[in-house]
Symmetry: C2
Subunit: 533 residues, 2 copies
């Protein structure tokens, strides 16, 4: 068998950590960060090497017709062994990556995918669809033992923009395209998908669709669902696609069953996506609040208005301090407006007025309403660097992870308070040190919001995963008690499966299980995520 490697950018992706290999913090930076977290190591763990892994021979071999699409080389297999959660990084650092896929396939067209699925069905090979590999919920690894082998199905060789309908603001795009490539190819048309998850550089359209990714923008159309006009899905039971429609009332939405299906029902190979004109008018401001509760009420008022800010991120005091957006213990609301149609200064001013009515203090540059102010800039640059810093801290033996949820407004204040107190107590118990627990709202809705938590704790290098699993279980219990979703935009994967099973209504569980058995009769598609066949 020969390696049918996908086209790769010239920079090298890290096989074990976030993003580009050359962007990892160096040992000195790691050590400096570690010094800020009590109970961490004095020196960073070494960056792991693929050569140190024991990677056996694959348990199956593909037939000759498929061999050109498939590789059994250690490099791609190691890189496809898991996603990019904190626990994945630690597993790599500690030399315990778990089960490594027997094979990695790089299909080039739908027929390749269909043939791979057919062969996998016959051979009882688990097939794990893989886009950019940025899952943080155990979505791209095989953990079972009921299959003869595991194949990672890497879609990134299917990365073309096939058609652009500029008048109709839509494009037909293959699922394996990475975020920057997609935007590069839309730019000449003056159009953008305007969907920027934090993983944007390292995730694919297909991954966004399969996980119902949340975009960067705080209100209005931001989740990938809303940008989906039609989907083509390859399943073991056949390949078909939905019609391009702006809207339809003909039965339950066919696409909505596959959006968020995480590769368990089929492989999304292409989509018609809805595009937007690139914004020409922008304005942003920050508003500081002495107390979080007043800030929450201000954000609720703004979310319930029809002002539709592109950004409406509320950073609690800790988060604001970490991002350099405030140093006096204030919570900071970062507001941004964008439009391709008309200037947005009036909308910004109205939103700032709503914030002021709840005691908000606009930043010094807000009055102009035309350029990003200092707090906004500080927050943005911290945001993009965050996952790299997480990996640096992981090398110092720290526990450092995020999780996000969403709940209705009535539950938000107590939910945030309970996560903070119960997680704080659990961290102290587990590590003997206080943990840093920060919160921001990433998305706001008229009827609720999505809090996003960051946890940083030291204290038990070597046992980091046990500590994290303990903290995550506490967090999941708090979320469940408040009927807050186990994930707002990071999918279920394998890590959230127990919580998802408790959250999902039984009628839907029955329907989903039945759909799974109908579309995937051999139970080969991403076994372990979402639902059992």
């Amino acid at each position: 068998m020969t390696a049918g490697a996908a086209p790769r950018p010239s920079r090298t992706r890290s096989w074990w950590g976030w993003g580009w290999a050359d962007a990892h913090p160096d040992d000195a930076e790691c050590t400096a960060m570690g010094a800020l977290v009590p109970g961490t190591l004095a020196r960073p763990l070494p960056q792991p090497e693929v050569a140190d892994l024991r990677i056996g021979r694959p348990a199956v071999e593909p037939p000759g017709s498929l061999a050109p699409l498939v590789t059994a080389d250690p490099g791609p297999r190691a890189a496809h062994a898991m996603g990019k959660a904190y626990r994945d990084v630690v597993r790599a650092l500690r030399g315990r990556p778990g089960r490594i896929p027997d094979l990695v396939a790089f299909p080039r067209r739908d027929r390749d995918v269909a043939e791979l699925l057919e062969w996998a069905g016959e051979q009882r090979v688990a097939v794990v669809p893989y886009g950019g590999g940025s899952s943080v919920v155990g979505g791209v690894e095989y953990r079972g033992d009921e299959h003869r082998a595991a194949l990672s199905l890497d879609l990134t060789a299917m990365d073309r923009v096939l058609e652009v309908d500029a008048d109709g603001r839509a494009a037909l795009v293959q699922a394996g395209i990475l975020g920057p490539d997609l935007e590069d190819r839309l730019r000449p048309h003056g159009l953008t998908l305007r969907h920027f998850p934090q993983s944007f550089e390292f995730s694919t359209l297909g991954g966004w669709l399969a996980t119902r990714a949340g975009g960067h923008y705080a209100t209005g159309r931001t989740r990938i669902d809303e940008f989906t006009q039609a989907l083509r899905v390859v399943t073991p039971a056949g390949t078909d696609e939905s019609w391009r429609l702006p809207s339809s009332g003909a039965g339950p939405s066919p696409d909505r069953l596959f959006l968020g299906s995480e590769g368990a029902l089929g492989v999304i190979t292409r989509a018609w996506i809805r595009l937007q004109e690139r914004p020409r008018h922008k304005a942003s401001a920050s508003v500081a609040f002495t107390g979080l509760d007043a800030a929450l009420r201000a954000v609720r008022d703004i979310a319930q208005s029809d002002l539709l800010p592109a950004n409406c991120r509320l950073l609690d005091a800790g988060e604001a301090a970490l991002a350099g957006a405030s140093a006096d213990g204030s919570a900071v609301l970062v507001l941004g407006f964008e439009s391709a149609t008309a200037p947005v200064g009036d909308r910004l001013a109205l939103a700032v007025d709503l914030a002021r009515a709840h005691g908000g203090r606009p930043g010094p540059e807000a009055a102009s309403g035309t350029a990003d102010d200092g707090a906004v800039r500080a927050w943005r640059s911290a945001f993009l660097r965050m996952p790299y810093l997480r990996d640096g801290l992981a090398r110092m033996g720290a526990v450092v992870e995020t999780f996000e949820t969403a709940a209705t407004w009535d539950r938000i204040p107590a939910l945030i308070a309970d996560v903070r107190s119960e997680l704080g107590a659990a961290a102290s118990r587990a590590t003997g040190h206080p943990a840093l627990i920060n919160c921001r709202l990433t998305h706001v809705y008229p009827d609720g919001a999505a809090p996003y938590f960051t946890v940083i704790a030291g204290g038990r290098p070597g046992d980091e995963l046990a500590v994290w699993d303990e903290l995550k279980a506490v967090a999941a219990d708090v979320l469940h008690r408040h009927r807050a979703t186990i994930t707002h935009h990071h999918a279920v994967g394998r890590d959230h499966r127990p919580a998802y099973d408790r959250q999902r209504p039984q009628h839907f569980a029955l329907a989903l299980g039945a759909a799974k058995r109908a579309l995937d009769p051999h139970g080969i598609l991403n076994p372990g995520v979402l639902v059992d066949g």
Copy 2:
């Protein structure tokens, strides 16, 4: 068994036609309308009487425990025999209403529904969920012969608003509530669902949810899907509900599988719905266009802006003339803006500018931008009276019906032209007279629009249904050829089933069929709609 009649308003609903019995046009008005349509009757058909129907004894009798919820009286059975499509009205007028349900049940709580379903499963009784009965697609009647009997499950006794979360802009509401009652109970809280389908007075929340109803507003949040926060569903396999969440990425949306499920997967008995503040600022205007194509381009530009008009209805020349909105052969665009947050005059002015750039001529009152102009008022009053006039024309032996679709912008001009020419030719062939075929856009999207057609033809009184079925088949073929959905907001029911089966992707058909069998193992839920078990 005793009649457990639901609470009724003091006015009487027509058992055979649209709306209130006392609002039907009288014989003189019918005759005057008929005179405008060549080839109709000289005198109206008489209004039909329940007493003239042959209504047999029911084939089954419910057990004593359920008897208080169920009636076998002819009146309710006749009124529940069908919906309110043109073809339903003609069937009643011609004394051929088809199969009349054996029983009508009025459950008062979820347990009643569950027990009725259990009994129906044991007895092989088809259960047809029924809200306001305003289906225009054969959604509320049993047409099969594989069941021992048919029961109409009328939800209107479950009509309470159970809880209002005013801060969180949401309410928990039973599914059987009619539109006006819901709004009456929300008004004291200063809130509104702001979902106004044309059937508003005569349809229920549960009906809107089960059919994915489209609201009155042209852009933004308008379909009931977007106002759905959580659903409780009673199925033969059990009862459960989704969590109240503003948004979630945990797997495919559970609610989206039941939105549009038309009673085939379960009975929606309550929902948490998202509410809005009542708008305080309004502005509207009309803009006339000499040609439809220029108007379509203007509407596309407005839909692709972020102005979000509440109304953006484009009436073609015929529709505008019929509504009294224009008399000179112009197409008319009716624009309206609403907000609870801020004045909307600026947004109206920007939209009018976009229309002007395509040759649009604003109406005389548009400049003020504060009150409804004449064309707007004329159109609104015609809109509300339309279904009554349809029934009056039906009594004159005319064919008079509407159908709607949606398609991407690239297909809209040819789609409208082809419907007009092919339907016109078919009508001439079938009746020997030219037909009136009008079109308006009811909803617009950045990537497409929803054209809504009205057909009025005379010529073969007595054979109206054969003529209409012929025309509808031609229309369905044109829609299919243009990949335009068989319904934008009137559901599939039994009338659209063949077209829906051609439109729906096979992978979804497999999933839906499997879900149906899992949730409804005895195949009793609304047999014939959407999918076979």
